[in-house]
Amino acid sequence: MGRFIVRRFAAALFVLFAISVLVFLIFFATPGVDPAARIAGRNASQATLAQVRHEFGLDRPLPVRYVLMMRHLFIDRDLTSYVNRGARVIPQIWQAVPVTLSLVIGAAVLWMFFGVLMGTVAAARRGTALDPLMVLLGIIGISMPVYWLGEVVNLVTQNALHDSVFSWVPPLGYVPLTENPLQWALRLLFPWLTLAVLYAGIYARVLRGELLSSLNEDYVRTARAKGLSERRILIKHALRCSLIPIVALFGLDFGALVGGAALLTEVVFGLPGVGKLTYDALQNVDLPVIMGCVLYAAFFVVLANAVVDLLYAVLEPRVRYA
């Protein structure tokens, strides 16, 4: 296991490095684009341009520029925005991280819970109305733009039915957990549900398929021959093995969520997380902020994936030797 951990983190480090180079090249070496003009924002003065050129070493060779860039981002952490004069980028990102994590982790708990529940029940009661319902949910989950679903949810809970059924829903925005846990949960409830709905259907469908194939395995027949109850076989034996591929899928989706759907959800629900920060920066073409957000988010995703892989190796020891 020790060797596996080392190998997995070495691979993660390589990917981190490669991603940072890739981002750097996109921003600084795209043919036909003047990076100084992009960083300085719209209608920048000559003095600002000169300052940018000096700060990022744009007159020096590419590798030097790469090192300078990484120093601004990760060592000195003094990358500043030129659109929003003097605003430090990295502290803004750190401020936004708890919001994004609250959103993503809450949603993940909900979708795993409902996905596993629905998948297990559907496998136990196969052939009932649950099957087509889950197929439908799964199709909707991969066909519906999350930001649009969020807007429809807003329309219903904040406007159309706000005077009757949903009068208890607080206005959009974020309240820190440490300040008021109840408000924190209430305000995040619909963003969580929006994200969870899209994923729960797929997870239920995958889990149902895995469970049904597990139920044909020899060890299940042995368990039946021992005289165990169907419920015990399903939950204690089949479910344990069927959850393994779910964990692998979860690792990939959790990362994709941070760098994708969560970004859009934050924008729609007005949550001041990393996604909203990126969105605002995109509206102002504030390149340093975009760069910072993208790199920090990508790094987080890569590390999260590495951690899930380790978890996976605990559940499924065979992958350690793959």
Binding site: E151, R205, G260, L287
Partner: protein, 352 residues
């Protein structure tokens, strides 16, 4: 949802005995698959829905000029229309708050007079929906085709040659795979969208649709190429392929005549699914204002236009979203049907 698209490549193996040279005399693998697809009611209903959506979008200029008589790309803030015989301004002065803003008229449900109302620049929402659909469909389909083509070439090369070629390509796939797709797309878009791209003699303008098409095609290449590479590697060990090499066929011939026909079913299965995924990505990028650029419209940009009108004129937001859901849903159902017909063993999205 990208991860869910992963095909359990190496483990499924070729799974494509469909293309079997010994099948002479029977109806043939492709025709068998087609027959199976035609009998799949859900897939056929989706196909009909898709054809209807595509036709409707293709008729956009016809609708705008002949039926509605509007220009969906020019703002028309002082325009008027006739509702129930009365002339009304397209943008009514706001009755709430300070009365400073304007509220566009809502849906009239009359196809000749602003069927779905107007947006806050007085543009006909329904006409824009049709025009936007053209762009959304064009981007979704062409980026899926380009993506699958690039991925097939790279996947076959990596799987067939192995060694250093595979090493380099696989590392490249790994990095792009590990990079969250939206973040990569944001990086590429924000750099390219304002100044365009110069590639030697080729200049792609900043507003060109080829930018989102190329960006979306590029970011999903590993999602298609990795499973294909796994399949090709498994094929490489098969006897018929070894025999072909043994007879002295060139690499090019083996790849073209032995490898390609065997992975083609997988590529065809992936095409509609990638089209749906790419359409969703396009709409998300457009929603973030880094996809399709004005004056062009797509379903994503119309949803973005409707953001400020969500509570007063929800139709501007809801209609394009429904269009996306219907189109992507139909593509996914059709894709599942194609998979069941062609490649039932592929573990796409854990089909039960």
């Amino acid at each position: 949802m990208s991860a869910a698209l992963e095909v359990a490549g190496a483990t499924t193996g070729p799974g494509t005995q469909a293309v079997d040279p010994a099948a002479h005399g029977s109806a043939g693998p492709w025709r068998t698959a087609l027959g199976q697809l035609v009998r799949n009611k859900a897939a056929m209903a989706s196909l009909i829905l898709l054809v209807l959506i595509v036709l409707a979008c293709l008729c956009a200029p016809l609708y705008a000029s002949k039926i509605a008589h509007v220009d969906p790309f020019a703002s028309n803030v002082s325009g008027t229309t006739i509702i129930d015989g009365k002339t009304q301004p397209l943008l009514e002065p706001s009755s709430t708050g300070l009365g400073l803003g304007v509220t566009p008229i809502g849906p009239t449900w009359d196809p000749t007079h602003y069927f779905l109302g107007v947006d806050n620049q007085g543009r006909d929402v329904f006409a824009r929906l049709l025009y936007g659909g053209r762009n959304s469909l064009l981007i979704g389909i062409s980026s899926a085709v380009i993506c699958c083509a690039i991925a097939t070439v790279l996947g076959v090369l990596a799987g067939y040659f192995g060694g250093a070629v595979d090493g380099v390509l696989s590392r490249l796939f790994d990095v792009v795979w590990a990079f969250p797709v939206y973040l990569l797309a944001i990086c590429l878009s924000v750099v390219l969208i304002t100044s365009g791209l110069d590639l030697g003699p080729v200049h792609i303008g900043p507003g060109s649709l080829w930018l989102p098409i190329g960006i979306i095609a590029l970011i999903y290449v590993p999602y298609v190429a990795r499973p294909l590479r796994g399949q090709v590697m498994a094929l490489r060990q098969k006897e018929f392929l070894q025999a072909s090499i043994g007879i002295g066929a060139s690499d090019w011939r083996v790849m073209r005549r032995e490898v390609l026909p065997n992975i083609l079913p997988t590529v065809i299965v992936l095409l509609p699914l990638m089209t749906a995924l790419n359409m969703l990505t396009e709409s998300a990028l457009s929603f973030l204002s880094i996809g399709v650029q004005p004056p062009n419209a797509s379903w994503g940009t119309i949803i973005n236009d409707g953001l400020g009108l969500l509570y007063t004129r929800p139709a501007v937001t809801i209609a394009p979203g429904l269009a996306i859901v219907l189109t992507a849903g139909a593509l996914n159902v059709l894709g599942d049907g194609v998979r069941d017909a062609l490649d039932p063993k592929a573990k796409l999205r854990g089909a039960a």
